[in-house]
Symmetry: C2
Subunit: 227 residues, 2 copies
């Protein structure tokens, strides 16, 4: 009976569903949690889709991740958050995060592509009402943009908390999609004289700019300079 008392290893993959298995290029899909988490953690802007009056709406918004939960926040007056409150039990959403890594130039127009990493999360978003979870979520949203920043800013006060809605989307029906590498031209095109290759994209930060109303003597903190 040795080992029967051991905790089974946590699942390392999300379970594929009809919605998360692509109809094309299935080899680009990944369901590994560490792959999905890494893509999510590298970003902070998602594109959140929901349905309003039968039509799709896609809005860019900030997000934060805490374990297997994603959080999105906004004014209690904004549309998706208002709809979450109205809609019981929640609002069907699709949350997508995309990083573009390179331009792929093939000899043939047809095989042009981009190298990218994306995560698509399907699910039902619920409004968060527990005050402790709301606090954790709001910290996560700030720290997703600048790690360490939530500890170095004034936390939300009662009035601000009352004006802020937080919604949660569990990481459950999730997939990543990744393209890497060079152009995949057809063999008969390899003799063409057009250049083929990849133009890598570079993302970075420029020198931080002090706010116009910053008091003298306040330096750029280390966690900002480190970006």
């Amino acid at each position: 009976m040795q080992g029967t008392q051991e905790t089974p290893p946590k699942p390392v993959s999300y379970t594929p569903t009809d919605r998360t298995v692509p109809t094309r290029s299935a080899q680009k899909a990944s369901y590994y949690k560490d792959v999905v988490h890494a893509i999510l953690d590298e970003g902070y802007v998602c594109h959140l889709g929901f349905v309003r009056d039968g039509a799709p709406v896609v809005l860019p918004t900030l997000y934060g991740r805490v374990g297997e939960r994603l959080y999105v926040h906004g004014s209690t007056g904004s549309r998706p958050l208002r709809m979450t409150g109205e809609a019981d039990p929640g609002l069907a959403v699709c949350l997508t995060v995309t990083h573009v890594d390179g331009l792929v130039l093939a000899r043939s127009a047809f095989h042009h592509s981009i190298n990218y990493r994306s995560v698509v999360v399907h699910g039902v978003a619920h409004e968060v009402t527990d005050s402790e979870e709301r606090r954790l979520a709001l910290d996560a949203l700030v720290d997703q943009v600048v790690p360490g920043r939530s500890a170095d800013s004034r936390p939300a006060n009662k009035k601000e908390l009352a004006a802020t809605a937080v919604i949660r989307l569990d990481l459950d029906e999730v997939s990543a999609k990744i393209r890497t590498g060079g152009a995949n031209d057809d063999p008969e095109d390899l003799a063409l004289t057009h250049w083929a290759g990849v133009v890598p994209l570079r993302k970075g930060y420029d020198t931080p700019l002090d706010n116009a109303d910053l008091a003298p003597g306040i330096e750029v903190p280390e966690y900002v300079a480190a970006l």
Copy 2:
């Protein structure tokens, strides 16, 4: 009667609708065509939203602009494009393009934000069947990523054209949303000692990488080196 024969000046703005007037921060919205076009022309990846079985789906995809028309392409087997063909008269979509320009760090967690420029297009996408419009659209899709590239690659052949669906979305119900500038802290927070300001984001290109199977002697073309 002088001047009655003159062509009236073209409208320079899109007409706001219930869907394109934001419920919050209305001062960030713009309907000027030149503002919208400039944001669209700086990008090449959009997030395309559509409704499938009543639930939203948001997928990153390339787009191209020709005047007041946006084009998206894909395999005839891919979901949104298949749905466009099935759904008569078209597929309701929301196409969103977002550029993130900077991180806005306020003294208060509440006033943290990002500087961004986004365009949201609502409408009904239609499959393009006219062969000349399809050719223009496919060129625009390649040139949106690398200006000048469509003329320096092998055009799609019959087989590739048969495998490619092109859908069109007219720029009609459109808005831009723009945030610029520093952190807007409340007056009572200005004395706090937290640093406040903007961290500008920089996007760029790294040195182009030759494809592994590139024939010797083919140089990186000027329009790629110029990126």
